[in-house]
């Protein structure tokens, strides 16, 4: 299979860039750099991966975990400097508040959070998620369901209230 052309790279950035940044944000504070590195790596491979999107998620995950470790080491050395909090979502409609969703998602365990992000915003199958996360398909599905349960518990009250008020 031929290498990635600039057109394909641009389309991948447009369609999956935001979700990839959200995915990388689960582990590190500089997700844009991680996604950019992954896209550059994809551009430099001579043989195009069979599933470029899943390949990107895998590379972003590995790179974000590595960068996150470095950031935590650096943060331990440098004393508490307030880092700016980036918004994970842009407000779309009134079904869910973006800040509440960010807080609820951030409170989830990491293995549930990565499955939810990869499934809902990345559009990956559970097979692909299992391969990326290093677990089986059923484990990925179980983590997904558990994560959604946790989000529903955290967001449920406000979400139901909003829906009730709206209806």
């Amino acid at each position: 299979m031929a290498a990635i052309t600039p057109d394909i790279l641009g389309r991948l950035l447009d369609e999956h860039g935001a979700a990839l940044v959200l995915f990388a944000r689960q582990w590190c504070d500089s997700p844009e750099d991680v996604v950019q590195d992954a896209l550059l790596k994809l551009a430099s491979v001579t043989k195009r991966p069979r599933k470029p999107v899943a390949w990107l998620y895998r590379v972003v995950r590995n790179r974000a975990i590595s960068v996150g470790r470095s950031e935590r080491r650096r943060a331990r050395r440098e004393s508490a400097v307030a880092r700016p909090e980036h918004a994970w979502f842009v407000p779309s409609d009134d079904r869910l508040d973006a800040r509440d969703a960010t807080d609820a998602l951030r409170a989830l365990p990491a293995e549930q959070r990565e499955v939810i992000v990869a499934r809902i915003w990345g559009g990956l199958t559970f097979d692909e998620i299992g391969r990326i996360a290093g677990c089986g398909r059923s484990t990925a599905h179980r983590r997904y369901a558990a994560g959604l349960d946790g989000l529903r518990e955290r967001l449920g009250v406000r979400w139901v209230e909003q829906n009730t008020i709206r209806t």
Binding site: L13, V21, T46, L148
Partner: protein, 168 residues
């Protein structure tokens, strides 16, 4: 029933989450494309260089192998040591013209004893074929043995004897 309600709740929260859009990436698209082009060109250049080097190495190895096969074998290459000149030389005497070659026959005990007695009396000159100027008798059975093959040892002591006889 409860399971269905639970699933519908999950689907609702799933749909609600999917309605949220992740914040747009703060990535400079033009800079990314420029760097991607450089990375792709660099990868292609490295691939071409690697291919060229590999082909050159293979060609050099093939040429060296061909030259090695075409060169004459040497002791080092064959892993063998040349053998010194043979110690014994076998001299085959040509049969006399018109004579028919007969297979050698072992002398009988009577002939052998007669030859032995002659040698004891006359010395080595009595041996058939060794006496100067006299060939072996044409039908002498003992002469057949000496006529067919004679073995000359080329040992150092024979050379010394020859030198001594010539100097004296």
């Amino acid at each position: 029933m409860g399971g269905t309600e639970h699933d519908s709740n999950l689907n609702e929260i799933e749909q609600a989450l999917a309605s949220l859009r992740p914040a747009g990436p703060d990535i400079n698209r033009d800079a990314l494309m420029f760097r991607a082009g450089r990375a792709a060109a660099g990868a292609g250049f490295c691939l071409r260089i690697g291919t060229t080097v590999a082909v050159a190495l293979l060609a050099a190895l093939a040429g060296a192998g061909g030259m090695w096969l075409a060169s004459p074998p040497s002791a080092d290459r064959a892993g063998r040591v040349s053998v010194a000149t043979p110690v014994l030389r076998v001299v085959e005497l040509a049969p006399a013209a018109g004579a028919t070659v007969r297979p050698a026959r072992a002398p009988s005990s009577g002939e052998y004893l007669a030859l032995r007695n002659r040698v004891l009396v006359d010395g080595a000159d009595a041996l058939p074929g060794l006496s100067p100027g006299s060939g072996p008798p044409p039908h002498d059975s003992a002469g057949d043995i000496w006529r067919d093959l004679r073995v000359q040892p080329l040992l150092p002591w024979t050379a010394l004897l020859e030198e001594r006889s010539t100097t004296s």
